[in-house]
């Protein structure tokens, strides 16, 4: 049962991370990010106590909340650059390549880190697609989403090898700090526009 759930989580992770690449509406982006944190929680709780793993979920959702409030305050919807439209086919191809490359890597990573294949692949997918997200955009909101995605992928893998409370706390601070930084940037843009 757990194995099946792990694979379902992986599928959901791929969908959310790929969806974040193409999402142009900030509401959809934050919704996908929130679901992605649920997947991260599931993958982390495979080797951590649920109470510790839920810290990741709460932090992630708090980050989504902070970004959502900032977006509501700042603009309530953002225009999208044309490059998203024009580069869609390229984005699909690049995402496909990332999925293939991370699958190949995860086959080796299973022995290296000692986790199950769907968890390793899920972590690497988040890292890879987060990096791709960062490569495709210069918009500050999407950059923050990309960084949060990348870090959550890293956290999935790192949780298997480090379970220190201090590291968990510091990573939570970093995630929330990134969200607050994103909120600050969005509000500065808004003030400038006024």
């Amino acid at each position: 049962m757990v194995v099946v759930l792990n694979w379902i989580t992986l599928l959901l992770t791929i969908c959310t991370a790929t969806g974040l690449l193409f999402s142009r509406d900030w509401r959809w982006s934050l919704g996908l990010l929130a679901v992605q944190y649920l997947c991260v929680f599931w993958m982390v709780q495979a080797h951590w106590p649920v109470s510790m793993a839920s810290a990741k979920l709460v932090t992630g959702w708090m980050a989504c909340g902070v970004l959502g409030i900032a977006q509501l305050n700042a603009r309530g919807g953002k225009e999208t650059k044309n490059t998203w439209q024009q580069g869609r086919l390229f984005s699909i191809l690049a995402a496909g390549m990332i999925l293939a490359a991370t699958f190949a890597l995860s086959l080796r990573g299973v022995d290296w880190i000692g986790l199950s294949l769907p968890v390793v692949w899920g972590g690497l997918v988040l890292v890879g697609l987060g990096l791709l997200h960062l490569a495709f955009t210069s918009d500050s909101f999407h950059v923050i989403i990309g960084l949060l995605t990348l870090l959550s992928g890293f956290e999935v893998l790192y949780a298997a090898i480090e379970s220190s409370t201090l590291v968990t706390a510091l990573l939570a601070v970093v995630n929330l700090g990134l969200a607050l930084t994103g909120a600050y940037i969005l509000n500065v843009v808004q003030e400038k526009a006024r």
Binding site: S138, L170, V174, V188, E191
Partner: protein, 465 residues
């Protein structure tokens, strides 16, 4: 009382309090007095030794425990603490005349205490996360001018964040090497992860594109402060790695790798600076060259290596401080910091113009200025190993020198008969005069900083002293 409480938590708390205060003079005075107190305390107070003052005995304990981990500052760290807080004190002094008390002082103090915490945390690999928190705090500092976020700031955030996973993963691999030191594949993997982590964190070639952009986009003084404190803390963090892991020090290609990266940074940074038309970008290129020189100093690989690196610290702080101050003064009145914008300003802002040119020349390694003695040591060390490499470094320095000449030409292109004046405020004039005097004094008497860097190597007991 514990040492981390005094040098980490108290500054952090004060930074929080100062954020709430509205009066710039109160903020300025309290921060300056407090950093001066921390500097003197680091210089005078022993750690882990009982001290009796008028019948009252107290002892600074070296450690404090948080969530099962420790923050430790020992007596060996005192000279580092004095250097950091002393330098921060000098960085804070011009804040009030530039009207940047907020955000420089509260955020600067918080960033400084976090970077000290990064060097004090045990296990020290967690430092990567604390440095990342400091980086996140620096975004409001850089965007305090309420300008639209531009590429440099965003790229800075991305590159610094990318460093975290690499360094944390390398920590896990390092633990594996400790258990199985003969595993060469593991050593290679750890070295690659660590190298990439530091490449992002220290903005080494080719990940430094954000530096010139950042200085161009943000307030020059705030950018200068960050570009001084972040690389300094990162290099100390890197030296901590070298100090702790014998296998890392023994990697045969390490000196060659440091030399190659250092040469590339000095060469590309210097050449880039020669073709820049913006004074902020030129300062950014000089920061790249400076990081390159630090890496070259560490690559010399003999007993002088650490000493030469430490000798670079004080002139760098001084030159960047003066350069950033002059850019900030000019930015207040000139339409921009492009070379065409500053034409004819040489006679209206003579102190700022002189400060900028001399700081640029000092970082280019001009004799009798502060930057010359440590550069001479690097050139000598490199030339002993390979003359072509020393020539490459000379080309980089010539690039910086030519940018100083171009700036000088722009400042002095004034019509005949233009009257001399000085639009700098009295405080700015005094600060610049003191800075310029120090540039010459440190160039002529570099031995004056010897007491400081004679004690600093004690932080790294396993590195060649």
């Amino acid at each position: 009382m514990s040492a981390p409480l005094l040098w980490i938590f108290l500054p952090l708390v004060l930074a929080g309090v100062l954020l709430l205060l509205n009066n710039p003079k109160v903020v300025f005075l309290s921060a300056c007095l407090f950093t001066l107190f921390l500097t003197l305390a680091a210089w005078l107070l022993p750690i882990d030794t009982a001290l009796t003052v008028g019948g009252w005995t107290f002892k600074l304990t070296p450690s404090i425990e948080i969530l099962g981990r420790k923050l430790t500052l020992t007596s060996a760290d005192r000279s580092f603490l004095a250097l950091i807080y002393g330098s921060v004190f000098f960085w804070f002094i011009p804040a009030i005349s530039l009207k940047i008390t907020w955000p420089l002082i509260p955020l600067g103090l918080a960033i400084t205490s976090l970077l000290v915490a990064a060097l004090a945390v045990e296990p020290f690999l967690y430092a990567a996360l604390i440095i990342e928190i400091a980086v996140l705090l620096s975004i409001p500092l850089l965007m305090s001018q309420r300008q639209k976020p531009m590429k440099g700031i965003i790229r800075f955030l991305i590159f610094q964040t990318l460093a975290v996973p690499f360094i944390l993963f390398s920590g896990w691999l390092l633990a594996g090497i400790g258990a199985n030191p003969g595993d060469l594949a593991l050593v290679a993997q750890a070295a690659i992860f660590l190298g990439l982590g530091f490449a992002f964190l220290l903005a080494v070639f080719p990940f430094y594109s954000w530096i010139p952009m950042l200085v161009e986009e943000a307030h020059p003084y705030l950018a200068g402060f960050l570009l001084w404190i972040l690389p300094t803390a990162t290099i100390f963090f890197g030296l901590d790695f070298l100090d702790r892991y014998t296998w890392l020090r023994d990697i045969s290609i390490l000196p060659a790798a440091l030399t190659t990266v250092g040469i590339l940074m000095v060469l590309t940074g210097g050449i880039l600076s020669a073709f820049q038309n913006n004074l902020g970008r030129i300062m950014g290129c000089a920061v790249i060259v400076e990081t390159g020189f630090s890496l070259l100093a560490l690559s010399l690989g003999r007993q002088i290596s650490l000493h030469v690196f430490l000798l670079l610290l004080v002139p760098r702080t001084l030159c960047l401080g003066i350069w950033a101050l002059t850019l900030s003064i000019l930015k207040e009145s000139a339409p921009g910091l492009n070379l065409q914008d500053i034409r004819k300003l040489g006679r209206a802002w003579p102190f700022a113009a002189s400060g900028l040119i001399l700081a640029n020349l000092a970082l280019a390694g001009m004799p009798i200025l502060a930057g010359f003695p440590p550069r001479l040591a690097v050139w000598e060390g490199l030339a002993t190993n390979s003359l072509p490499l020393a020539l490459c470094v000379l080309v980089g320095s010539l690039g910086l020198f030519s940018s100083a000449v171009r700036s000088l030409a722009a400042f002095t292109s004034v019509p005949e008969g233009t009257k001399w004046g000085s639009r700098e405020t009295l405080v700015q004039r005094l600060l610049l005069l003191a800075g310029l005097l120090s540039l010459f004094l440190l160039g002529l008497f570099p031995q004056w900083v010897l007491p400081l860097w004679n004690k600093l190597p004690a932080i790294f007991p396993n590195l060649p002293q």
